[in-house]
């Protein structure tokens, strides 16, 4: 599904990712954990195509196609989705209508015809239930005045409607209380299937109690320093990031 090879990326002339390698197969959920400033969110934004980041080396393939060559909207239409850590408020643009325009852009790209209003409403009602979203939020401007939890639910709701093949969740758990975390995670779990892959980025192990990953990777200083099964997350929770950072520092080739 997704292959990340030796990915280097800069922001403002400073290199944040120093060669990330990662491969996620169809249907798998991988988690990336790491301390603050390790480059987790940079990786998410590079995958989504944020213009502030320059990729200086390496490659990302989506089912063999060069993802980095695509504009952000093309990535979305090709089935890449990023749930934002800080979803943006867009006054004046209705949540529903915006989503319909987005869905139709995706459908058009896939050679499908535009969805009609009745079918769209049916789809939206069904997907809202996944994250127990209040219908009132549909008719409000995108994210405007939404609580932190409502914004995160809205992200998962968008994902449910757009049905991506590869979804990146960028610290979706940040700022969520335990109830909201349960609801959001349950929504994600319902969207898991044999074709869809996820990259779940989080600082805390807690999220991974609900969204149980197939693999866990630890990102330190722009590199993946350790990978393992879901038990790696528990180990990190118990011991913190300190020991792994030390190990990573020791493992650096001399002179770097």
């Amino acid at each position: 599904m997704i292959q990340i090879k030796n990915l280097h990326a800069n922001v403002g002339g400073v290199e944040i990712l120093h060669g990330v390698d990662l491969e996620i197969s169809a249907g798998e959920v991988h988690a990336i954990m790491g301390p603050n400033g390790s480059g987790k969110s940079t990786l998410a934004r590079v995958l989504a195509g944020h213009g502030a980041y320059d990729v200086t080396e390496g490659q990302v393939l989506l089912d063999g196609a060069d993802l980095l060559d695509m504009a952000p909207e093309i990535r979305a239409r090709e089935g890449v989705f990023m749930a934002f850590q800080y979803p943006v408020e867009i006054p004046g643009v209705s949540n529903t209508y915006f989503l319909k325009a987005a869905l139709n852009a995706v459908r058009k790209h896939r050679g499908q015809k535009e969805i009609d209003a009745v079918d769209f409403l049916k789809l939206v009602r069904e997907k809202m239930k996944l994250v127990q979203m209040d219908e009132g939020l549909l008719h409000r401007p995108v994210n405007e005045g939404f609580s932190g939890g409502e914004k995160k639910r809205n992200e998962i709701f968008h994902m449910a409607v757009l049905e991506p093949r590869f979804a990146v969740l960028d610290e979706t758990d940040s700022g969520l209380d335990i109830d909201a975390l349960r609801i959001v995670s349950a929504g994600v779990n319902l969207l898991r299937n044999a074709e869809r892959s996820f990259l779940v980025i989080t600082h805390y192990q807690r999220l991974l109690d609900y969204i149980v990953p197939d693999r866990v990777h630890v990102l330190v200083d722009g590199r993946i320093v350790r990978s393992g099964g879901k038990e790696l997350a528990l180990e990190l929770e118990a011991k913190g990031y300190g020991w792994i950072e030390q190990e990573a520092a020791l493992a650096q080739p001399v002179g770097v």
Binding site: I90, A101, H109
Partner: protein
Amino acid sequence: MSAMLIERPTAAGSPIEPYLDEFARLRGERPAEPTRVAEMRRRAIERFTAVGFPTLKEEEWRFTNIAPIVRASFHPASSEVAEFGIEAIAPWMFDGTAARLTFVDGRFAPALSFVGDLPHGVFVGRLAEAIEAQREEVSQHLGAHRPGDRADSHAFVALNTALFKDGACLLLPRGVRIEAPIHLLFVATGGTMSFPRNLLVLGEDSEATVVETYAGINGSGGPALTVPVTEIVAQANSSLRHVKLQREEREAFHVAAFELRQERSSRVASHSISLGGGIVRNDIHAVLAGEGADCTLNGLYLVEGRQVVDNHMKVEHVAAHCDSHELYKGVLDGKARAVFNGLIHVHPGAQKTDAKQSNRNLLLSSEAIANSNPQLEIYADDVKCTHGSTVGQLDEDAIFYLRSRGIGIEAAQSLLTYAFASELVERIPVEPVRRALEEFLFARLPGGEVVRQAV
């Protein structure tokens, strides 16, 4: 100054000469005007002769260079109204109006106008007719609040006063409410100059909705110059909803004055939309003269290319307990320029004033320029006044967010631009006008079809 001086003005070769000639010519055309009006015109042309056209050296004009207007020559409308079929004005017409008065180059066009059944005592018609009939409201209010000979009246108001041929007049008696909008349509043909003068007097407890549309036709004759003055008197407890839609030809010149006087507990909401024109200037002056008056002044301007739009507002709180709310927003592309100059003046004794003023500009291009200058002058101590202005670009994070959901970059930019403008579009109280403006935006914005779907 003697009347002789006006008949033979010493302005040969100066840019004001053609206007003085036109004044002299018009005097011959209307020998029977009431003395008061004739006197007002005489004082106005004297004032114009004395001050001439404003230059960049004048504080009120320092950002808007009107030299292209001064240099250009315009011809007055021919005595025959240009021959247009109703289809020529169809793009600006809308359904559900109580009346439509159409003026072509400042002259009334009866074939393009109608007045439906209106309550007894209402006058909706030509100002020239109301002057001729010596209507009491006209002698009381015409030029009383924006006379054109006052020290603070600029050259164009003076010109309008001296040269207006006609315009719309609405006289609403006490207690009369007209639900359906009254449409005043001003069409300028290429190369002409016109000076429409409108007078709206709302009697006590009356209510009306008025839409002024300024449009252009046949730009091949060169840019037209339109210099309208609209005077509004809202008497006690009356209510007016007013929309001005300026959508002339791209090169046209439009220099307008809007004079509003509000008495006790009156409510006026004005929505001014500027879309067309090479140079567009609006001078808006509101006087809140009676306690408890409520005044809303909304504005939206969308300019591109080398268009210039300049909104000068002055809101005077004379009486206590009045509210004024101003929100002007602009979208600028290309090398367009916008000027906003807003003054809230709170007079001594205007306690409990609640005044808000905001001007926000969205620049879509690095070459567009917005000058925004909100000002407060407060001479009372128990008041609430806020003002602010912003000039900014589209939010890159919002663009990325939309793109990350599959919306193309162009459509994402257009969607955000539309959203910026829609706050004011939504407030327009006349649905067909609101829809026409939405359509204009969909057509103007790249990727407008996606925007249409998404809003």
